[in-house]
Symmetry: C2
Subunit: 159 residues, 2 copies
């Protein structure tokens, strides 16, 4: 990482550069942590889907929605350091170079913010416990995931 | 999965067998989801560690503690179906056969419950924001993780 980026990242997440390396890790760590977090959310999305399509169990939906919400609010942006559109975590990253292009900054902020909003709303709706409302919000959350995938993720696994 | 196990698991998590397969997935899914969830928690533990050892940022610690708490409360037990001490998710599982032995059931309940308790306490202490208390609770949570690793996880990666 270049010094300028390091300083910028340090300021952005508000910690000293001594501890920064521990938080964001090496590039392979960043990619593996990202992939882990997304798969944990995918498991949770699958749990909600099974509930809205089958027998509804409020506790399960709340548990799954809380996982998605907590991860969505965990500032995963720090795991997207420059250059990490190439490299391997558990597998090759599917992140597109478009992610880092300055002209896409506004759209990135929009899709990231949209995902956060829908994830927070999902947790609220799950806690309220209305199965119909959960189904509707699950659809919105899925769309928010897709908005980012469509723009910033390779369609096929490079493996 | 044998019918008896399927029925037992169905009753335990309170959903119909139609949706069960979607929730617990195939064995390789279970193992990959487990590994993903633990790595997401490991990232979060690393974030807390960096804060208690470096400059303390309350928001970061809260975010990380909330991720650990949400995953700890997500009933990951459903991802430990019989026979899943062998198999590959992102990599070979390190789960020991001891996990499924009836004579270890009480100890398993104890270590799992201990982890849940300390994870919930970690989120509370993080929200309160006292760096010293967070450091102490981080130690307790680490011990709770280790208690399970010592008994039920292979020491070395089989890769």
């Amino acid at each position: 990482m270049k010094l300028k980026q390091l300083v910028a990242a340090t300021l952005a997440i508000g910690i000293t550069s001594t501890t920064l390396a521990q938080v964001i890790g090496k590039q392979e760590d960043q990619i593996r942590w990202r992939q882990s977090a997304y798969h944990t959310m995918a498991w949770s999305m699958g749990r909600i889907k099974a509930n809205v399509e089958g027998t509804y169990n409020k506790d399960q939906v709340v548990e799954a929605a809380n996982v998605i919400q907590a991860i969505a609010n965990s500032k995963m942006g720090t795991l997207y350091q420059q250059g990490s559109d190439k490299g391997k975590g558990w597998k090759e990253t599917r992140l597109k170079a478009e992610f880092f292009k300055p002209e896409n900054k506004d759209e990135l902020g929009k899709v990231a913010g949209g995902f956060n909003k829908e994830a927070n709303e999902m947790a609220k709706v799950a806690a309220a416990g209305d199965a119909g409302a959960v189904k509707a919000q699950f659809g919105k959350l899925g769309e928010a995931c897709k908005a980012c995938h469509d723009k910033f993720r390779q369609e096929d696994d490079k493996k």
